[in-house]
Amino acid sequence: MRVDLGANMETTWPVLTVLTFLPLIGVVFLLLIRGDEEVVVRNSRNVALWVSSFTFLISLLIFWHFDPTVSGYQFEDRGEWLSRDGIGYHMGVDGISMPFVVLSAFLTPLAILASWHSVKFRMREYMIAFLVLETLMIGTFCALDMVMFYLFFEAVLIPMFLIIGIWGGARRVYASFKFFLYTLFGSVLMLVAMLVMYGEAGTTNIPQLAAYAFDPSVQTWLFLAFFASFAVKVPMWPVHTWLPDAHVEAPTAGSMILAGILLKMGGYGFLRFSLPMFPDASLYFAPLVFTLSVIAVIYTSLVALAQSDMKKLIAYSSVAHMGFVTVGIFTMTEQGIAGAMFQMISHGLVSAALFFAVGVVYDRLHTREISAYGGVADAMPRYAVFFMFMMLASVGLPGTSGFVGEFLVLVGAWQASTWLAFFTATGLVLGATYMLWLYRRVVFGKAEKAEVIGLKPMNSREIFIFMPLTILVLYYGVFPTGLLDLMQPAILNVIDQVTGVATADASIGGAN
């Protein structure tokens, strides 16, 4: 599956490896910073921002050279690591992982910029955590070896756990504990499943595993084990309750990354593992996934309506939006999966922006209670515009990226079952209800409280963070084809693997 361009890049420099571990070089620099407190704070912010921005540039370079007409992996990069056992260092991206790699590299500098003044202590460690997190996120999406994937995927927990547990709000310990417990539960089962797969197929290479035909009865168990891990990450109902708590306690930047990238790892996992490796089980369990997803859409939308905390409301909305994603993936139609992918990218941008929007006013009034606001539009007109735009993108207004994903998912859903389309589409109405309700209570109305009247307008740093997010959401709402075309070959691959169950070639080559 090696392509010219990928091979070409490979001979010059292992670009994905560089991309993945570049942030760690920043960490080294951060460790070397000496001086008094103020110097350390200033320098560590700058180093983190520069390193993550540079990482983003490299990711753009890769994106630029990515050939959207090719269905296989590109920029492949192999190394020796336990290779005699069929485990290898193997990196590569295809149309499914490429957008996530860029998204991770894009959101990290914005998250760092978002914490410019809001982090009050241990700035150096905070920035280290974010750079390590970036390495792990990019690694998760680039890894083409199951063991590597597992390491990256699980290790992501550690910096995020620390970010919430140390720089979080009042109940941060409870939240990070809950976060850890849930994900640990899933990961243990996934590890066991991976060992079984290794024992069976004799390799941990993801492309080879995808081509290996597991016995349908084994598939069922493997599917469930992976499902436990991915469902928690997405999160799907009823294993979603860690998310609202984690979001509420996490610092703004933590929420941006959590909602923007971490949740997508679950969806990515379904597309990378569950569907291609366990096609029979995926078909078998699709109705279960649909049921859970529809419950997620309706149940969490209603719960979002009952919230009085801004972040909690948006967190619950994330669960509902990710419900669309799981519906789309398991329709196993081209539109459904493309829609799910698009929805994940779009939600990555929109939810990051929404959590940042909460952070902007939180930095000023230090409360997330919706009732503490009202009439913010007077003091912060530009904020009202950005927030409005993102709110509309979140409810899937045509012309924003949110629409494309939701609509394609529903096109796929109708083909799977009209019931599914009907119940999922209720999210269109419910989503509008809670988002408009939130916006109304925060931004509209007459500002009566002295603190709200005296709110400082957005500064240029804050506008600078909103700007690229807004432009992308609009751009991908009007011209989504570029991204859809880029994903298409890889999506068709996945569908082939599911539908071609009967004719799958069981033979696999040796490791490397």
């Binding site: 336990l82 390491l151 009907f422």
Partner: protein
């Protein structure tokens, strides 16, 4: 040129939006109005020199969404149906833009207002030029958002942003149906492009699909679903509740969006889809019945209300009902005809009402008006013209279009057509009655406003009166001038392929040959209604109160809008909130958390101790220790496993 018509208002909106950052009122006015005027001139040019000679064009722009067989283009379609909508939208919009210069003169966010108006116009033009259902949906939701922004324009007012949200959410219920309809159409025909759908439709007659566990005729299912979208946007019975509340927006908004253009989008959609709906007889009957019921239902509420704008709003709702039942009996040209004339006279009425409200220091309650006709004679005359047209008095615009609708309903010779006819005649009586009730209560009798208000009453400035004159010309002449073209002798040559009517649906042809009584019925009831209004409100002013007492339960039902809002509140809104709270406290916290993570409470103590220790040391030490530990563990384990 078509692109210019559509995108000029967008440029105007962006321009005005930029000027709103610097609060540059003049800049905002100039850029938005000049873009609109240009767009309007091009629109008329297109109507006269392209649509009438029969020149249809489709301007492809670029691909929008493409995934497998699901392919959506950005493309502008221009045919007779679009051309009519374009002149209606651009003309009324331009007038409203100009009028707003005067009406909003005391507001401190003028450029923002103009930006929203232009944005609305852009979205509306995207809707009417849509070449496929998804682009129509784009315009559809776009006008919804613009409407939301404009209703909530005075966002300080609780009632304004409540109404704005209600409008958006109720419209979303309709859009829910619309969206499902689009998915259904795609599943059936493999396309969302209009021509391809229409080409595939005749083959689908007799095809059934599985919908929510039932096997139903495919075309009827998608037809009804799409029509639910139209019901939301056009405020038809059941999804009408947002329209009266939408009167919270500034009056020019009501004229543009909630009278002349956006609310007629549903009628346009039904006409646009005529090549499909013609093969869905049940859907057509459903449309007829919903339209007829809305016509009468809204009229019964209209004649009991006291807020001048709400009366006109219910009147709009009722007139939209006429348009729908016309479309339902396959008299699409009649529906489009009434849509056009209605746009002029209803916008005139709204802007006239705005002029009254402006004169009376923002008073909207007709009980606090009266005796002001001498002080604002021009406005008074304009309101007369609007009311004459609305009531269907001969030679005014509404006379031609309403008669045509009622005649074609009769001429359908079916049960639903008959039902629609009788409902329509009854509603025509009420229309005439409430129109004159409005005129008399507002302008005649003894002044009921305070001295203070009375002393300030002044005629509106020229910038507000000029648009009234233009619309008045439309309200007087549009009926007689467009009659032949739209529904008279030339209708087939004019609409051509933009509207498709099956040969066996003969309402249009037969409408011109109906009994005399049918022909004169609307006129007779119109005169009766006007006469009764004079009797009740001028000759015997005590009568209305007496009648209200006499028929107390019925009056209460009408006055309280048939309690629909209360009903919805009880069955949708309240349960949703209660359920949400219950799911949260009982579901998430009470069940999932209680038996899940919190159940493992014994861990908490140790864990928090661990956490507090973390905070005293160097974080990265621990992070790395954990990372390395995991790597080591896996490596060791994997080696052991592998051999």
């Amino acid at each position: 040129m078509i692109s210019a018509i559509v995108f000029l208002p967008l440029l105007g909106a962006i321009g005005a939006g930029i000027f709103s950052l610097t609060n540059n009122d003049k800049g905002g006015f100039i850029v938005s109005i000049s873009a609109m005027v240009l767009s309007m001139l091009l629109g008329w040019y297109g109507f006269l020199f392209m649509a009438i000679p029969g020149q249809d064009v489709t301007v492809p722009l670029t691909t929008w969404i493409s995934s497998g067989g699901f392919h959506v283009d950005w493309a502008l379609r221009y045919d007779a149906l679009t051309a009519v909508m374009v002149i209606v939208v651009t003309t009324v919009s331009t007038m409203v833009h100009i009028y707003s210069v005067g009406y909003m003169s005391h507001d401190n966010a003028k450029p923002r207002f103009m930006a929203y108006l232009s944005l609305f116009t852009f979205a509306m033009l995207m809707l009417v030029t849509a070449d496929n259902l998804v682009q129509m949906f784009f315009g559809w939701e776009g006008v919804g958002v613009a409407s939301y922004l404009l209703i909530g324009f005075w966002y300080h007012r609780e009632s304004a942003h409540t109404a704005a949200m209600k409008a958006f959410v109720v419209n979303r219920v309709g859009d829910f149906g619309f969206a499902l309809g689009i998915f259904g159409v795609f599943a059936l025909t493999g396309s969302i492009q209009l021509d391809e759908i229409f080409a595939a439709t005749p083959n689908l007659v007799g095809t059934n699909i599985e919908f929510l566990g039932m096997s139903l005729p495919a075309l009827e299912v998608v037809g009804i679903l799409l029509f639910i979208g139209a019901m939301g946007k056009s405020a038809q019975l059941g999804l009408h509740t947002w329209l009266p509340d939408a009167m919270e927006g500034p009056t020019p908004v009501s004229a543009l969006i909630h009278a002349a253009t956006m609310v007629t989008a549903g009628v346009f959609m039904v006409c646009r889809l005529s090549p499909m709906l013609e093969f869905a007889p049940f859907t057509l009957e459903f449309i007829t019945i919903v339209g007829a019921l809305t016509a009468i239902f809204a009229a019964t509420i209209g004649f009991t209300q006291f807020d001048i704008k709400r009366v006109i709003a219910y009147s709009t709702c009722s007139q939209l009902g006429y348009m729908f039942f016309a479309a339902g009996v396959s008299a699409y040209p009649a529906a489009m005809f009434h849509l056009t004339t209605h746009a002029f006279f209803k916008a005139l009425l709204f802007l006239g009402a705005g002029s009254v409200i402006h004169a009376m220091s923002d008073e909207q309650d007709m009980r606090n008006m009266g005796g002001i006709w001498k002080k604002i004679p021009v406005t008074y005359a304009m309101m007369w013209i609007g009311s004459l047209a609305l009531a269907g008095v001969p030679f005014f615009a509404g006379y031609y279009s309403k008669d045509m609708i009622l005649e074609s309903a009769w001429a359908q010779h079916g049960a639903t057509g008959q039902f629609a006819f009788y409902m329509g005649v009854l509603a025509a009586f009420l229309t005439a009655f409430y129109s004159w009730r409005l005129l008399i209560m507002t302008f005649h009798g003894k002044p009921r406003a305070s001295e203070e208000v009375m002393s300030h009453i002044h005629e509106s400035p020229m910038v507000m009166l000029f648009p009234l004159f233009v619309l008045a010309v439309g309200a007087i002449f549009s009926g007689s001038m467009l009659f032949d073209l739209f529904v008279g002798e030339q209708w087939k040559d004019f609409w051509r392929s933009s509207i498709m009517i099956l040969p066996e649906h003969t309402a249009m042809e037969n409408a011109h040959h109906v009994p005399k009584l049918v022909k004169f019925a609307p006129l007779i009831v119109g005169v009766l209604g006007i006469g009764l209004a004079y009797l009740f409100y001028l000759v015997m002013p005590g009568m209305p109160a007496k009648m209200a007492r006499l028929f107390r339960p019925i009056h209460a039902l009408f006055f309280n809008k048939w309690y629909v809002d209360e009903l919805y509140d009880a069955i949708f809104v309240k349960p949703a909130v209660v359920l949400g709270r219950m799911f949260w406290t009982k579901g998430d916290m009470g069940t999932i958390d209680a038996y899940g993570p919190d159940g493992v409470t014994s861990l908490v103590g140790r864990f928090s101790a661990f956490c507090s220790r973390l905070q005293t040391g160097y974080v990265f030490h621990y992070a790395f220790a954990m990372l390395i530990g995991v790597v080591a563990l896996i490596t060791w384990y994997a080696r052991g496993f592998g051999g």
